[in-house]
């Protein structure tokens, strides 16, 4: 009788311990996901700040490319206004596209290509683009880990009971980026 009681008690303690452990690891991952998201936000904001400078310094040279510039400015405003992960991802992808077409246009103007100011802005923007994609990569890794933990069998009970919700990935909707890179052989 006593033995059974002790075994039961031990089981309860073990179960409780496991519950706390699972809950804590869920919380830890959730905080990391939030942190990763704020990383993306920082980089996105930085890009929004850099764009007006770039537009200002190329404007003088590009009299015939008004609509390219306007598209960049419009995309930037949209991206700033967007809220929610899905909308934001879409707006930012559109902004990336317009920026890419702007850089393609810059290539056609020898004066612009030799301008120190434009060059260093271009370097800054390229770097920020890279940072955004790295931050997104880190965020998606963390979200993947978090979502897995919510869905796998024992922890999903804890997640369901404590109300942990799955997160969205920061996805790329851009076709060109989705295509597999060509391997040169």
């Amino acid at each position: 009788m006593v033995v059974i009681l002790i075994v039961l008690l031990a089981l309860v303690v073990l179960l409780l311990g496991w519950f706390f452990f699972a809950y804590n690891s869920l919380v830890r991952l959730k905080i990391r996901v939030d942190n990763a998201w704020s990383q993306i936000d920082v980089q996105l904001k930085r890009r929004h700040d850099l764009i007006p400078n770039l537009v200002e310094s190329v404007k003088g040279y590009m009299a015939y490319e008004k609509d390219t510039l306007e598209r960049v400015i419009k995309a930037r405003t949209q991206a700033i206004d967007a809220s929610g992960i899905k909308d934001k991802a879409q707006a930012e992808n559109f902004l990336s596209q317009t920026l890419r077409s702007l850089f393609a246009v810059v290539e056609r103007y020898p004066d612009l290509k030799a301008n120190q100011n434009v060059l260093s802005l271009q370097e800054e923007l390229t770097s920020t683009e890279n940072k955004i994609s790295f931050a997104r990569q880190y965020y998606n890794d963390e979200v993947g880990r978090y979502n897995t933990l919510i869905e796998v069998v024992p922890t999903n009970i804890v997640a369901g009971a404590a109300g942990f919700a799955k997160r969205d990935f920061f996805e790329i909707e851009d076709k060109a980026q989705r295509e597999a890179p060509k391997v040169q052989l």
């Binding site: 990391r32 290509k113 120190q116 260093s120 890279n130 790295f134 880990r145 391997v183």
Partner: protein
Amino acid sequence: MPFSFIDIEEKKTRLLGCLFFFVIFFYFLTAYLVLLILRNAFGPRDGFFWPSGMSVLAAFGIALFVALLHWATSTSHLIEKLSLSIGAMELDAKDFYHKGLQNIIDEVGVAVGGRRITGMVIPSVSLNAFALEDFQGRAVIGVTEGLLTRLNRSQLEAVVGHEAGHIVSGDCVTTTVTCALAELYDELFSRLKAGMQRSRGRGSVLILALFLIIFFMRFLSTLLRYFISRQKEYRADAVSVRLTRNPLSLAEALSLISTNWRGGGASGERLESIFIVNPNFSRLDEKQGVFSDVFSTHPPIAERIRILTDMAHVDTKTLEEHLKNDTWVSPVARAEFTQADGGPSAWRVFADQEWKGPFGLEELQASGLLTPETWVKPEGSEKVAHAYEDETLLSVLSPQAAEKKTKEEFACPHCRTALGELYYEGVPLQKCSHCEGVFAPSHKISRILIRRDKTFDPEIVRMAEATIRERDRRVDGFYKQKPVNAWVLDCPQCGRKMRRQFFVYSYPVEIDRCVYCEGIWFDRQELEILQYIYENKEHFFDDSSF
């Protein structure tokens, strides 16, 4: 989970603890050995004695004290000390390449989840990269100037990713501390050696004793290296691939580094384990097996490249072909010799009741129209102003005023006007807009010579060839001159006289070098001629030993 920082922290502390106890143990063993020898040499002559319990305890106390002292001295200012001994310097915030490097490091910092890493650079032609980290979590990633020049952006990113891999997986601290522990003795050793040679005879017994002890301790630094596993390089390669998702670029970078000079002999003698590829060629490194697993610091490069190319589904031959055909030119090449700040370069002048021009700066001076009171407006703008209100024009108008203003800045030693900033192959230099002379502080010269963005005019090529052809005659003639004219110009940086001389005998370009601050003044085209000769040295000299 590779990124569980708690695991890594635990592992880190455990390894460092091991290291610390190893150091104590080593000192204890040494003290015990010395005790044993002393007791049997000076004690009673009959038979062999083991030291008593008390003396063993004393030996342990001494060992503990020395170990603590050693630990404390080598781990304070870890990063400063080690970067000094490999000759690494802080990044030049204005330099185009350096800015790019810091950007890449920041990008990788974001990729590992937001971490600040400082960039550094070794002013050397060799190709290599290193990482350092101290107990406070300050991290440094450094590359050589040669690497910065030769690698393209994605290759550089892969290398930085590898170094960041060392930092996030926690082996960087252990390596850094181990190197610092070993470094202390190497430094003492070399200093004593120099001291011995200087003061021959005097106090030589004492020095000899010290010398012996330190020689013994140097053995410790050799032992310490076996704490560093060669596996860490594979792990860091893996992290780099996981961050950049680009195994091919890392393979390319490794292949480039391994087939060029990696800086052997130039950097700190025993610090090879902080580098991505061992600076000294080591036969042991290139071998597989238990023996080399224990005793070498780096895995075989061929093996590393093979793993990476397998990941990218490319074979090693195609990689080599690809590298051969890859002539990558950085975007900086386009920006050469452009004025850094966007000041006006042409003006319209109001004279004889009408606006004339636009004139360039030189034209304006020659025209005789320019006085301080002249009305001018910069080309492309409607802002009318007196000439003295325009900064560029003021420097032409009154050299004295300009000289006063630029006392701490820079003034041209010929024309006495303020020097403007200029980017030459991404390096910020001072250039005179009149005589087109260029001033370069000494530490920037190596950077310029290494970088290869610039394409040369036929005129420069002709002049460089003429320079080399007449070398012997000129060397003779130059040194037969009285040294009266040898000190002509004032150094723009410190104001002292500069000595006119050849850059070096093998590159007989006449330059003015300040003997105090070692800055160099190049007259018009001299820098380009020097660089042309340097970059085509194989063409000019039979053996490339220069």
